[in-house]
Amino acid sequence: MEDLYREQILDRYKAPRHRGHLEDYDIAYEDDNPTCGDHIRIELKVQDGRVVDARFDGQGCAISQASADLLLDEVIGKPIEEVKQISKDDLLEILGITLGPVRLKCALLSLKVLKAGVYGLGA
């Protein structure tokens, strides 16, 4: 547990910084993990090719929700081209934990949603 539920993750789960909705956004996308019911929606505000603000909403396990919150830390302020470069490994490094196959899906749901959004699947 020490390894999996690091303070950071429980923290972000209980008191997320980026949970909520934007009044006005340029990109939004949502998806879920039907097996366990994890759900994530991400909204991005983009100006001059740069993400100026972002929010997520959703429900699910601590890993999936904390991962979304930590991911948005990374995203906010970055040019959209750099956001596109964020990899699975980057996110796992931010999370700082080793995950089994099932939990990996939880952790990566937010990234999957983000990517689908920035690659133009969202509106």
Binding site: M1, L10, C36, D38, G60, C61, A62, I63, V102, R103
Partner: protein, 415 residues
């Protein structure tokens, strides 16, 4: 039920010594508490010995060979069939078809009996308790053939609403397909009464025995079951083999399902004739060693006694359920103590089942998290996922105590 009362029913420490995996530590210093036998059971060394001994001394393909090994392998395979037949009270070994698992057993019935006997508008009566294995094959048939599906409702305490049955049977279903024991609520429907009522209404009865057969005495003739499917891996046997029991006259009338070697009487380039039952339904090389080892699992279960196993699990249920319900913010899906096995699915306020399971794993406790392949039942109860702790003959009340203690830790962590 107190701990010592439970343990007077079954000599669990002695049983535990037969299961190598139970000696394992999940991490150094953290012993395994395996509470996921509903997903798959562990295997005693008696079963593993038979499995490896088959490969080390008798391995050959069955049915055709004249040489010593082939005759030994064939005899062992057919002996396993006879053991399984006796175990569930079938009237003869020919009523036992070896398949991969309970899922394939039900699909076989849907493909073979279903496509030969059901036409547009015909009704198959299921229940809201069902595992996906007893839903999806019928949904596929509904999409393909236009059969109708209706469902016996589940009560708030996780049992079947038997009062709804007469009305549903009045719709004249051709088949009533019901789980013998829910893998979520642990409820064990009164198969005998359901079968009698179904037969009176002119329907055949299929029982999904994946959970029932490992946990309770089953006599298909006395229960009045026409089709019964179950899996070896949930009853101390290996993966890769399961059983379809069907009444002889049904099996004889059913068209073949899979085509290939062994299921034929003769083959020409453009036509074939089918073999006798049960071989008609066993195309290709069967799971030989797995069936032989399933025979050893049946021996093991019989040596303990299914009545005793059932009684032990009921006692465990009485021990565990109230203690679980004492955990604040914890809700059990399936709260009846009547006709139930020792399976407990639950959710905790504001804590996702994944997180529950993960924290329990930290304490060495293996429970499953998810919808346990019974999504409609979860939907009905308004939850997406539960954690599920399930007990079998090798689990102790002490392990239940450890589970409860760890659940308080979960609350602490996420509170």
């Amino acid at each position: 039920m107190s701990e010592p009362d439970c343990l007077s029913i079954l000599d669990v420490p002695r049983i535990r010594a037969d299961f190598p995996v139970l000696g394992r530590e999940v991490r150094p210093g953290v012993p395994l508490v395996y509470l996921d036998s509903t997903a798959t059971s562990q295997k005693p060394k008696q079963v593993l010995d038979v499995l490896t001994n088959f490969y080390r001394a008798h391995n050959a393909n069955v049915h055709r060979g004249i040489y010593t090994l082939a005759e030994e392998a064939t005899a062992a395979y057919e002996e396993a069939r006879a053991k399984v037949a006796a175990f569930i009270g079938a009237s003869s070994p020919e009523e036992i078809v070896f398949v991969r698992n309970a899922t394939e057993a039900i699909n076989l019935v849907a493909y073979s009996w279903g496509r030969a006997n059901l036409k547009e508008g015909d009704l198959v009566l299921l229940t809201e308790l069902e595992h996906h294995a007893n839903l999806v094959p019928w949904q596929m048939l509904a999409a393909e053939r236009g059969i109708r599906l209706e469902f016996v409702p589940v009560t708030p305490d996780g049992a079947l609403d038997m009062e709804a049955l007469p009305e549903l049977l009045a719709l004249e279903p051709k088949l009533v397909a019901v789980s013998g024991m829910s893998n979520v609520t642990g409820f064990q429907p009164d198969v005998k009464s359901i079968a009698r009522a179904a037969h009176d209404a002119g329907a055949l009865v299929l029982v999904d025995g994946a959970q029932l057969v490992p946990h309770a005495p089953v006599d298909v003739q006395e229960l009045g079951v026409d089709f019964l499917g179950f899996s070896s891996h949930k009853m101390l046997g290996p993966t890769g083999v399961g059983v379809l029991y069907a009444r002889r006259d049904l099996l004889e009338a059913m068209p073949p399902f899979l085509g290939g070697g062994d299921m034929i009487r003769w083959v020409k380039l453009r036509e074939f004739a089918t073999n006798d039952i049960p071989y008609k339904f066993e195309a290709g090389t069967p799971p030989i060693a797995e069936a032989v080892a399933l025979g050893a699992a049946v021996d093991y279960l019989r040596s303990i006694g299914m009545e005793k196993i059932h009684a032990y699990e009921q006692a465990l249920a009485e021990y565990v359920l109230p203690r679980l319900q004492e955990v604040p913010g914890l809700h059990v899906l399936g709260t009846t103590l009547e006709r139930r096995g020792a399976v407990f699915s639950f959710w905790m306020d504001d804590i996702h089942a994944h997180d529950v399971s993960q924290v329990l794993d930290y304490y060495g406790i293996a429970v499953r998290a998810g919808h346990h392949c019974a999504q409609p039942l979860h939907t009905k109860f308004g939850v997406t996922a539960t954690a599920r702790a399930s007990f079998y003959i090798y689990n102790t009340p002490d392990e239940a105590d450890r589970l409860i203690a760890a659940l308080y830790k979960v609350k602490e962590k996420f509170g």
